[in-house]
């Protein structure tokens, strides 16, 4: 990703200091305690040597009790030091993790929509959850144990050589391959592990699609077909998992084989030396006991190094988000609108996505449009003409790439975001609601949080179904609460925009999921609100257009014509083509789909290019 200048592992991890600073003193304390525990564990065998040698000596009985007591004391000390290490390290580390998590979330909320377009929420989630907990574990254990075990191994090696140089060297040289094997294992294993993660992700996607698309699959009888595909994918995953298991098995084999063989060698060499009198029985016992103590620290070094690399990658992924500049933010010296009237002006507005092809035309290709205070302007055009994109530019969900948008004569980029978004409220085509009560959802952007305001907004949006919910307006909805139909959600989203009582109301096809009767009633309510509010409404149906004072016809990112509905009908052939359909909404009392599936609605239909179905002769329309 940011492969421009790849930091060294140390420098990459050093960035954590920013968040870990408050925990540093206790982290260091934890290391000290860990070192004490490690050294005490090494001291026990040395006392053992004294004990054994005295047990076979002359003054045997007198020495045993004090030596045992010493071992007991050291044993207590070791347990105590481990306790101290853990308790010192744990709490501050959870704080570091929590602070990083909150910081990530805060950052993500402020990064512009264009950032979120690029990043799947799953990607962000894995950073917020698994990466951060990996970093926490590394700080608490990885880092501490790397230092502690490193020192323990060094001291242990010195001790072993001290007991008997030949034996010590045999042991250490014999054990070295473990590091190499553990490090090499990490490389093969992490490749397979990453592949298995990807494959598991693909499998999860296959599962999701097979459930979300169940109607399509059933309608076409493709159950068997997706089953085969799924089983192929599951088979691949199984293959990768077995590959991982094989790599782990090889590692375990060596991790068992090397120390045991080395100990066996030491036994043979040790016995020979002891038989020649070069080693007391106690020293031999101490040697084996010390070697046993060293086994875990020795084994662990390879893992800890790999763990450090993992932590480094997790840190990279975290900072990748944290360091992304927020390019839609408050201006340095913001202006304020004293008495907002709600005059909206587009002046030569251009917009294109940052990742658009170079030769692609701008999505919004020079829009000039004025919406007077209190006026309602409908945006009409075929799919891909840029209607939804224009609406998203007004609250600065995206910034224009050329020209400017003025609110009461002020470039919206000169306003604080909070002020701009207080003046402008939006209802989206895909009506996102949050896991909160109906009340909190509707009053989300409202200054006036009174019951009366709530009631009025619900009334405008014809959301009377709220009264029938288990707890009325206090019913919790959203992911964690009651699920509502598409039409119900859309009405609440509309109520939310209305309750915000903005100067400018931006509605992106706000009635698409409503059945015709409800639509008519909502329109009646909206008319009252729109009387003194500036509004920009994306319209697909003539009935929605009827709400507007004037209509702007968009074509290929430009305003092709502006006028009243009847003016445009009379003067613009293109307008007739787009809106005066073969059937001007002859309702059969038919719901246009309260049960419209989210998937259909979710696609913000106008951000895409194409969909030109212009091959149809214009006259062809009026059949019947």
């Amino acid at each position: 990703m940011s492969a421009v200048t790849r930091l060294s592992t140390l420098a990459a991890l050093w960035r954590l200091v920013r968040f870990a600073r408050p925990a540093l003193p206790r982290l260091i304390g934890g290391m000290v305690a860990g070192l004490v525990a490690g050294l005490v564990a090494l001291a026990i065998p040395q006392v053992l040597e004294v004990l054994v040698d005295s047990a076979v000596g002359a003054d045997a009985r007198d020495a045993i009790v004090p030596a045992t007591l010493a071992i007991l004391g050291l044993g207590l000390l070791e347990a105590g030091a481990i306790l101290v290490r853990r308790w010192l390290v744990l709490t501050p580390n959870t704080r570091v993790e929590a602070a990083m998590r909150s910081a990530l979330y805060e950052r993500l909320q402020r990064l512009p929509v264009s950032f979120h377009d690029r990043w799947a929420s799953g990607q962000l989630l894995s950073r917020a959850v698994s990466d951060l907990s990996l970093i926490r574990r590394w700080l608490a254990f990885g880092l501490v144990l790397l230092v502690v075990n490193g020192v323990t191994v060094l001291v242990g090696a010195v001790l072993l050589i001290g007991i008997q140089p030949v034996l010590g060297i045999v042991f250490i040289v014999g054990a070295l391959p473990i590091w190499i094997i553990a490090a090499r294992f990490e490389r093969t294993y992490s490749v397979a592990a990453r592949r298995s993660q990807d494959q598991a992700g693909d499998l999860a996607t296959a599962v999701e699609e097979s459930v979300h698309g169940i109607r399509v699959l059933k309608a076409f009888g493709r159950g068997g077909y997706v089953q085969e595909k799924f089983e192929r994918q599951a088979e691949q995953l199984r293959g990768t998992e077995l590959e991982k298991a094989r790599a782990a098995a090889v590692l375990w084999r060596w991790l068992t084989l090397i120390p045991d063989t080395v100990l066996a060698l030491c036994l043979i060499v040790g016995v020979i030396i002891a038989a020649q009198g070069g080693l007391t029985a106690g020293a031999l016992v101490a040697f084996f006991a010390t070697a046993t103590v060293l086994r875990f620290p020795l084994d662990s070094i390879g893992f800890l190094l790999a763990f450090t690399l993992d932590a480094r990658n997790a840190t990279d992924r975290f900072f990748e988000v944290i360091d992304t500049p927020v390019d839609i933010e408050d201006p340095r010296d913001p202006l304020a609108i004293e008495a907002p009237r709600g005059r909206l002006e587009f002046r030569g507005v251009h917009f294109r996505y940052a990742d658009a092809k170079d030769d692609a035309k701008d999505l919004i290709d020079g829009v000039d449009l004025v919406v007077e205070p209190g006026e309602t302007m409908a945006l009409v055009g075929i799919t891909g003409s840029g209607k939804s994109t224009i609406t998203a530019l007004v609250p600065r969900l995206y910034d224009v790439t050329g020209g400017e948008i003025l609110l009461d004569g002020v470039d919206i980029r000169r306003l604080r975001l909070s002020e701009l978004r207080r003046h402008v409220a939006m209802a989206f085509e895909d009506s996102t609601l949050f896991s909160d009560s109906v009340r909190d959802n509707v009053l989300l952007g409202a200054e006036d949080r009174s019951d009366a305001a709530l009631k009025q907004a619900l009334e405008v949006a014809q959301a009377d179904f709220v009264d029938d919910l288990p707890n009325g307006v206090d019913t919790v909805i959203g992911e964690e609460g009651l699920s509502l139909s598409g039409g119900q959600r859309q009405r609440l989203a509309l109520a939310r925009a209305v309750a915000a009582a903005p100067r400018v109301l931006v509605l992106d096809d706000p009635l698409s999921a409503l059945d015709v009767d409800t639509e008519a009633r909502v329109e009646a309510g909206l008319r009252r609100v729109l009387a003194d509010t500036t509004a920009l409404i994306v319209a697909h149906r003539p009935s929605t257009v009827a709400l507007a004072d004037r209509v702007a016809l968009l074509d290929e990112g430009r305003v092709a014509a502006v006028g009243t509905h009847s003016e445009l009908l009379a003067t613009s052939e293109r307008y007739r083509f787009v809106i005066s359909s073969l059937d001007d909404e002859p309702h059969l009392g038919e719901g246009c789909g309260l049960d419209i599936d989210d998937e259909v609605r979710r696609a913000s239909r106008d951000e895409e290019r194409g969909a030109e179905t212009l091959g149809i002769p214009l006259g062809e329309g009026g059949r019947s």
């Binding site: 999701e208 169940i214 016995v271 599936d597 609605r601």
Partner: protein, 604 residues
């Protein structure tokens, strides 16, 4: 307290299960586990043998050191290399063989758990596909997905690490204990005494960790839901300035999760040193008891060393063992839920003796069909209808009149509760499912696209389709031009940016999918609802040629669509109230005539 029985998935949301019901659920899980393990019996036994031998060999080490020191040294002093060769050689052999076997065991164990997982995945997936729409409409997609993902994950975790650690851990502890007792019974006695505080410590850990782990799981689940909700709804978050309030809420959730985690770590922070403490005290005790006997000459030094090594090693796997129960608990809960899904029976079942429909012509007959969803109100009280092959029918009527229900019955998403529907004289319930699915295809306003290319998505209607056929189908429905304009044309990935298609475009693709399937009966349920008006016109034109020799059922609220029908049915409350050609009905005085008149006025 049996509001709903605990069969199938119904027990899932209840926390008031009676003792018998919980027992029944557990039995169901065990049965499922048994059926998964049955074909692996041989491998299972072989794996057990390997791990037993391997653990025994690994445990032999300290005993061999004892032999080497106690008999090897004196023998060597006397010039006899024999004992040393035996002990040293034995140690080498035991070490190598034990290591090879433990590696072998890990692979064997992975094969077993992967085989179980694969089979479980396969079964759940197949069951999900088989279960009728009725099930899917009540059991939300989120739940069925978490059965197949997070629940399977907890089982995977148990199989991958938990179970393996349990087996090796138990054997290790067991063999170490046995070796200790065999080598020096008094030391065995000391260890036995140490087991008492160990038992209490472990029990304390287990009961507390169970509760604390549940807390970490629930707090992290809440955090994740909030996180995902914010990120997917980021437009609304920013447009309505919810960032500040979200920060507060999220920080609260992070803190809850942190506290829950910290409690778990503190638990480990006590348990782990506790184990070390008991271990070290036991070592001291063993030394005290052994030291005097060594001084008396009653115990060899090598044995004392081996005893110390055994005691130290005895405590190593205990933490893993204590953890096993947690993994086991969540896996057991997962297995309970999965076995519930597997227990469900499709309400629309495959026929025992399927009648093939090799060359369907498309004559549809409803014979006194009665239908209602589940125990709900009757939608179709007694519905009879005869549709000759090749006829295009338009269904008109208000919401709830039963039009979509009719469509679902024809595609056999549901079966009638009385009466019969026949296609070319064959009862749909008797028709071979594969033939029925290729004969009858339904396009709804829900135009779902699967990940993959545009071409893949069209080809879903006919997996064997060539590129030419795909392009032809796209051309036929007027989708070709927009597809060509996509970054990679037909090979554009529909999930990638720039390849993302609008709701109307999705609908065109789903039309293309239906046309390439070339069914004898085509059902369009509000299939043009998301199209913009020009696109709809294009589809209309295409439909006229495409529907020429097919039976078609069109449900639409726009009268223009109705005009291309041979016959219009106006439905009300599950009954046909008007039936005739569009011209006839318009000329009459019925409902359709007045609707049509109103529409003509609106055009003027």
């Amino acid at each position: 307290m049996t509001a709903t029985p605990a069969t199938g998935v119904q027990g899932e949301d209840r926390d008031d299960l009676t003792r018998e019901e919980s027992k029944a659920l557990r039995r169901r899980s065990v049965r499922l586990l048994g059926s998964l393990l049955a074909p692996l019996k041989g491998r299972f036994v072989a794996t057990l043998v390997v791990v037993v031998v391997s653990t025994a060999l690994q445990v032999a080490g300290p005993a061999l050191i004892a032999v080497g020191i106690d008999t090897g040294i004196p023998a060597l002093v006397a010039g006899d290399w024999g004992p040393l060769a035996w002990a040293g050689g034995g140690f080498v052999v035991a070490g190598i063989a034990g290591a090879l076997l433990i590696g072998r065991y890990q692979i064997m164990q992975a094969k077993i758990s992967q085989a179980i997982l694969f089979e479980l995945r396969r079964r759940v997936f197949r069951k999900t596909q088989r279960l009728s729409l009725e099930f899917h409409e009540s059991y939300t997609s989120g739940r069925i997905i978490s059965r197949q993902t997070s629940d399977l994950d907890s089982i995977r975790e148990l199989l991958d690490s938990g179970l393996g650690n349990l087996v090796t851990g138990v054997l290790y502890v067991l063999f170490t204990g046995i070796a200790l007792v065999a080598l020096d019974p008094p030391s065995g006695l000391v260890l036995a005494v140490a087991l008492i505080p160990l038992w209490f410590l472990t029990r304390w850990f287990q009961t507390r960790s169970q509760r604390l782990f549940r807390q970490t799981r629930t707090t992290s689940a809440k955090l994740i839901v909030r996180f995902v909700e914010t990120m997917t709804g980021i437009r609304a978050v920013q447009a309505f300035r919810k960032e500040g309030r979200n920060d507060e809420v999220f920080q609260g959730l992070v803190e809850d999760n942190r506290v829950a985690n910290a409690k778990v770590f503190r638990l480990f922070g006590t348990f782990d040193p506790g184990l070390v403490l008991i271990g070290n005290v036991t070592v001291a005790a063993v030394l005290l008891v052994g030291g005097f006997r060594v001084a008396d000459g009653g115990l060899a030094i090598g044995v004392l060393l081996a005893v110390v090594l055994y005691v130290r090693r005895f405590f190593d796997p205990l933490e893993d063992l204590a953890m096993f129960y947690n993994g086991y608990q969540s896996a057991a809960a997962a297995l309970e839920k999965i076995s519930g899904v597997l227990e469900e029976r499709p309400t629309v079942s495959d026929p025992d003796h399927p009648v093939p429909l090799p060359d369907p012509r498309g004559r549809l007959r409803f014979d006194a069909v009665r239908f209602g969803y589940g125990d709900g109100p009757v939608i179709l009280p007694e519905f009879s209808l005869d549709v000759p092959a090749g006829e295009t029918i338009a269904l008109v009527g208000s919401t709830g009149a039963g039009k979509s229900t009719l469509a679902k019955l024809i595609s056999r998403f549901y079966d009638p509760s009385a009466g019969a529907i026949t296609l070319d004289g064959v009862d749909l319930r008797e028709a071979a499912p594969r033939d029925l699915r290729s004969a009858v295809v339904m396009v709804t306003q829900e135009a779902y696209l699967f990940s993959g290319t545009v071409a893949d998505n069209i080809a879903l209607g006919k997996p064997s389709a060539s590129r030419e056929e795909i392009v032809a189908a796209a051309r036929a429905v007027g989708a070709h031009d927009f597809i060509e304009a996509l970054p990679d044309g037909y090979d554009t990935d529909v999930n990638k940016r720039g390849g993302r298609v609008s709701a109307g475009q999705r609908q065109l693709l789903s039309f293309a999918r239906a046309f390439i399937a070339d069914p004898a009966v085509l059902i369009l349920d509000e299939a043009t609802a998301s199209l913009d008006i020009p696109s709809e016109r294009a589809v209309q034109t295409a439909l006229q040629t495409l529907l020429a020799e097919r039976t078609a059922i069109i449900i639409a609220h726009r009268l223009s669509t109705v005009a291309i029908a041979d016959r219009v049915l106006v439905m009300e409350h599950g009954r046909i109230v008007e039936d005739g050609s569009p011209a006839e009905l318009i000329a009459g005085t019925g409902r359709f005539a007045s609707l049509h008149a109103a529409w003509r006025d609106s055009l003027a």
